[in-house]
């Protein structure tokens, strides 16, 4: 390779790499380190105190919103898995090339292009106490976004509305690439449609299944916008992502404590990062 080419290649790698290292990996590592410290954020870096695992001890024992937040994240995860299964189900139905499948596909897909924050606003017209459609139809007087008994589910329904179309699309793409001979062979063997799907098609879709698994995990962990729009993650809507944000934005500036919460998020996410990298790297090789 010529020297000039070597320089060009170097620059083409260095700039994007610097971007990702400085703006993603350095902050990630810093979050982990800051999690072991106490720092009010006033004064220089020399005012940082090392306090070992105290932040973690406090989070697990005397920080009231933590366990509800973890529970809510888990509920959202389970719920989104059900929604993903629903998305797959719709994809299987639409994949039969019915008349009108284009319309069904577009209808389910439309919410995916909207932001999750906007989804929160659109559903407010349904959930509002006085003027919302849901109370008008049912005759109830529930504040769906405000009442801690219901708001998690109200917000989850809106999130599911937005999530299903994306999963459907991923499966539609996967189903299109399934070799038709497989179906024919299964039909010759006398398998019915349900058997064919679960015993022949579903296993072939393994890469898509893993991607959907990861996408669903990430969506549940990153779940934030709609919760922040509704009530900034309080009163029934505590989630870990919102707790991190609450500890840094606004008057509160508990940097060490917030970083420990952020590190918990990083640890959870590392599980599916590893799964995802395994899948795609195997394909890339």
């Amino acid at each position: 390779m010529r020297t000039s080419d070597k320089i060009v290649v170097g620059v083409m790698v260095a700039i994007p790499l610097l971007f990702v290292l400085l703006l993603i990996w350095l902050p990630a590592v810093s979050s982990i380190i800051l999690g072991f410290t106490r720092w009010e954020g006033i004064g220089g870096l020399d005012t940082i105190q090392w306090i070992g695992l105290t932040n973690y001890k406090n989070i697990f024992t005397i920080y009231p919103p933590f366990w509800p937040a973890l529970q809510h994240n888990l509920i959202s995860l389970l719920y989104l898995f059900i929604v993903s299964a629903f998305g797959m189900f719709i994809a299987v139905l639409i994949d039969k090339e019915l008349r009108g499948s284009r319309f069904y596909q577009t209808a389910l897909y439309l919410p995916v292009v909207l932001s999750l924050a906007l989804t929160g606003f659109i559903w407010q017209l349904i959930y509002s106490t006085d003027q919302g459609l849901l109370n008008a139809v049912t005759g109830l007087k529930i504040d769906w976004y405000g009442d801690a008994k219901y708001n998690l589910w109200a917000v989850l329904v809106a999130t599911g509305w937005q999530h299903a179309g994306y999963i459907m699309l991923l499966y539609l793409a996967g189903l299109k690439s399934v070799d038709p001979a497989l179906r024919e062979a299964a039909a010759v063997d006398g398998a019915n449609q349900v058997q064919t799907f679960f015993q022949v098609i579903f296993p072939v879709l393994r890469p898509i299944n893993l991607i959907v698994l990861v996408v669903t995990f990430i969506t549940a962990l990153r779940w934030f916008d709609i919760v922040w729009i509704v009530n900034k993650g309080r009163n029934g809507l505590e989630i870990i992502a919102a707790l991190v944000t609450q500890n840094i934005v606004g008057e509160a500036s508990r940097i060490g404590f917030g970083s420990a919460l952020a590190t918990i998020m990083l640890v959870i996410s590392s599980v599916f990062v590893v799964i995802y990298l395994n899948v795609v790297m195997r394909e890339a090789k």
Partner: protein, 277 residues
Amino acid sequence: MLLHVFLIIISLSWLFPIGWALFNSFRDYNFTAANGYFSFGGFTLDNYANAWARGDFTRTFLNSVIITVPAVLLTLVLASAMAFVLARFSFKLNLTLLGVFLAANLLPAQALLIPIYRAYRAIPLPEWISDSGTMLNSYLGLILINSAFQLGFCTFVLSNYMKALPHELYESAEVDGASVWRQYWQITMPLCRPALAALATLQVTWIYNEFFWATVLLQSGDKFPVTSSLNNLKGQFFVDYNLLSAGSILVALPPIIVFFVLQKQFVSGLTLGATKG
């Protein structure tokens, strides 16, 4: 037949929330207040004019453009350069590098918030780039973090796409003595147009919809993009839902138009990442 009935019910219930917002965005607040939302009539266009003014949409749409366009261009240029090197040459570290980019794409943004926030607050910028004097509360800061977050996905998709191009292309280019830059810019990039178009469509929508970073990194209202400025339409003491509907439709319109006009690119962009080809 049963299948169609089922799918039609599902589709209509999926369209319903948007339809309901659209319907009520054209109705007068006093009419729906008097007759309830279960009524017909009171049609007006005033909500749109009011929402446009109250939500300061002229400014916020401009802000969205100022943030989205450079962020998408920057992402695609950097990602394509990285992807080209990964696809064209084989180093020992190829897979590791790809992993570094791809994993970065999956980290939850909130986990990076505190260091980013503090660093942005501490980095000074000249007045002509940012009137706040720091990276915090600047367009530039938001553009950079959005690009960094999208780089992994785009690099991955583009490098897969480039690997599928016929290798003879480069062999003949080498014979002709074409430099690496020429191979990238004049040979590879034009062939990647479909993938670039798909990614651009997707990225425009994603960055336009981005909410978290805009909310936490921009503090003064005058720089907020459209998505994070809907709160302006909520009054302090009561909410005019017809106004809010009109505002929501205005915000939803750009991605919906992009989706209908560029549906093919949009869908292929999403599935490019998940399946090969």
